[in-house]
Symmetry: C2
Subunit: 315 residues, 2 copies
DNA sequence: ACCATTTACGTAAGCACTTACGTAATATAT
DNA sequence: ATATATTACGTAAGTGCTTACGTAAATGGT
């Protein structure tokens, strides 16, 4: 029973590694059986030097796709075998220019028939599968170039996290949570101002009764975030008092709360949502921008010291 | 410019490695971004323990395809995190049985949604290529199982070596080579006997004039092997005095020389070829067997001390 | 029952790289 | 012109395995 095979897509990396090892080990075995004093890992380097002539260490590294310490190692080893030699760049004394010696060139040339045979063997294998393997690989590489596994997965994970968050409307039992969550982040980044104390101590009077709403985010039976929609006038609501607890951050909770506020404003037939924030809160500003908020000039002094600018969203 | 891609089939191993690394690194990055205290390399082990329960170190190693020291490492690391625990086998005190702890189980379970998302991302990639990648890989694996790159290449290389060897018939200028090559190997494995001296010193009188022939193998303008067809009677020729110089061994020269002798006997309308050899010369005996020679009882004492048995080929 | 062989596991060393970091030479900005 | 940044390279240390080897426990043949 082949576990890696059984696991399917989830172990694709391991399966490809196993396949790659099989190819590379076989090639190594071929060299050994032919008693050729040439290490397979030198191949890319030698091939490059043979076709493109002398190069510096870093040029070689980036050309053949190894780190430069690896190239230093290869060059040192091959120098011992007198397959490569150094020469001066002439301009830049930091550079260690490397080229093949005559011995190196002729060894590489003598390798050609064997390489051709390896190539033919690989082609034979590929032909036997009936697929154009190189083209398949290229397609996979292209798909990954377009968007890698990391980003594809992250997108799905974010969606899951958003789905897991429940948004609740205000109820008296949640009053203390509103205060706790806001105090938590205010103390961390700024300080609790007079206006904060007023609103956070009595949201019913300060927000709800004036036609606004307070939303809460619940994740696995815990209240992890909150946000208020404060009515400015029939046409405008302010998004304010957003706070998400530390350990739940990065789970799209802010986004969901903001969307709740926007939805609330929309249901009240308002035409815009405003907010005040601070440049320091980069993550928050990014979120607002992703939702369509634009910076607007400060029309009048804010009630809060921490405010550095305003944003607006047209509905 | 992508050198690995340019190289095509010859760098297929490296290309697959690069692709595999890309998958595996992305997965590792995903775990890290989710701040999960779980190493991707533990996955196979954990998955096995979760599905199949407690196992010993060696069982785990063979099941998940790592070496046992690797499993020891994983288990020690996971034990530190209290993800696995040990228990006694009861019968065998050498065994260190391992199973997941409750913490390990629940961590693995909590990982499932993420794994599903990774799997879906991989599936998405594969779908985008339009190929059934897993099936393509399986086809390649099957082709390799049938005959690996090493053996496919070796077959081609042997053919090339055979093609590169020229077989020459006796001419007086080659007389010394016949002696030199035979002395070389006689001294290495046995000793030069009276009968050897007689034949090697005057092949014209001892072989050619009696209706036999001496063949030589020339490789890149160097005589690297020799072999004689000694006429026993009209019906029988003896394959004898085969010698291939050390550094040219493994290049199918013996085979080609033997075929020359067999061909010579055939052209003389003989019905069998015999030879005398020694069990110690395993490579030579294998060659003779591959050509169809069978062991036969010694009908009479050999002229050579080194002979331990005879072989015969019916034409 | 006894000794040789095999098995299970741990440890050490090796491998083929990588990342991290330090130093000297060169390029760039003021 | 001089300070600062950047680049080229070497070295050290780390990584994620492997192979090689040693020891203790179990097994098997006589």
């Amino acid at each position: 029973m082949d576990i890696i095979k059984e696991l399917g897509e989830i172990a694709l990396g391991s399966r490809l590694k196993r396949l790659s090892d099989r190819f590379m080990q076989d090639v190594s075995k071929i060299y050994k059986s032919q008693k050729i004093s040439f290490e397979p890992r030198w191949f890319a380097l030698t091939n490059y030097l043979y076709n493109y002539g002398g190069s510096s260490i870093l040029d070689l590294a980036s050309s053949i796709g190894f780190s430069h310490p690896a190239v230093v190692q290869f060059v040192n080893q091959m120098e011992k075998e007198k397959l490569v030699e150094e020469f001066d760049d002439g301009n830049d004394r930091r550079k260690r220019m490397v080229r093949l010696t005559e011995k190196g060139k002729s060894l590489f040339e003598s390798l050609q028939p064997l390489l051709k045979e390896i190539e033919d063997s690989v082609k034979e294998i590929i032909q036997a599968t009936g697929y154009d393997l190189l083209h398949v690989i290229e397609s996979v590489e292209n798909a990954l170039d377009e968007k890698d596994i990391y980003n594809r997965t992250l997108k799905r994970t974010k969606q899951r996290h958003m789905d897991a968050v429940e948004i609740l409307r205000y109820s008296p039992v949640l009053k203390e949570q509103f205060k706790r969550l806001n105090y938590e982040w205010l103390k961390k980044y700024f300080k609790v101002e007079k206006e904060d104390e007023k609103i956070l101590s009595d949201p019913e009077k300060e927000i709800i009764d004036k036609g606004g709403e307070v939303f809460f985010a619940r994740l696995e039976n815990e209240i992890v975030g909150t946000c208020a929609a404060i009515k400015i006038n029939d046409d405008t609501y302010e998004l304010a008092k957003m706070a998400v607890t530390e350990k739940a951050q990065g789970r799209q909770i802010g986004k969901k709360l903001a969307l709740a506020v926007i939805g609330f404003a929309y249901s009240k037939k308002a035409s815009k949502v405003t907010l005040e924030t601070n440049r320091r809160l980069q993550a928050a500003v990014n979120l607002y921008e992703s939702l369509g908020f634009k910076s607007v000039p400060m029309d009048k002094e804010s009630k809060y010291e921490r405010t550095t600018f305003k944003m607006k969203l047209e509905l």
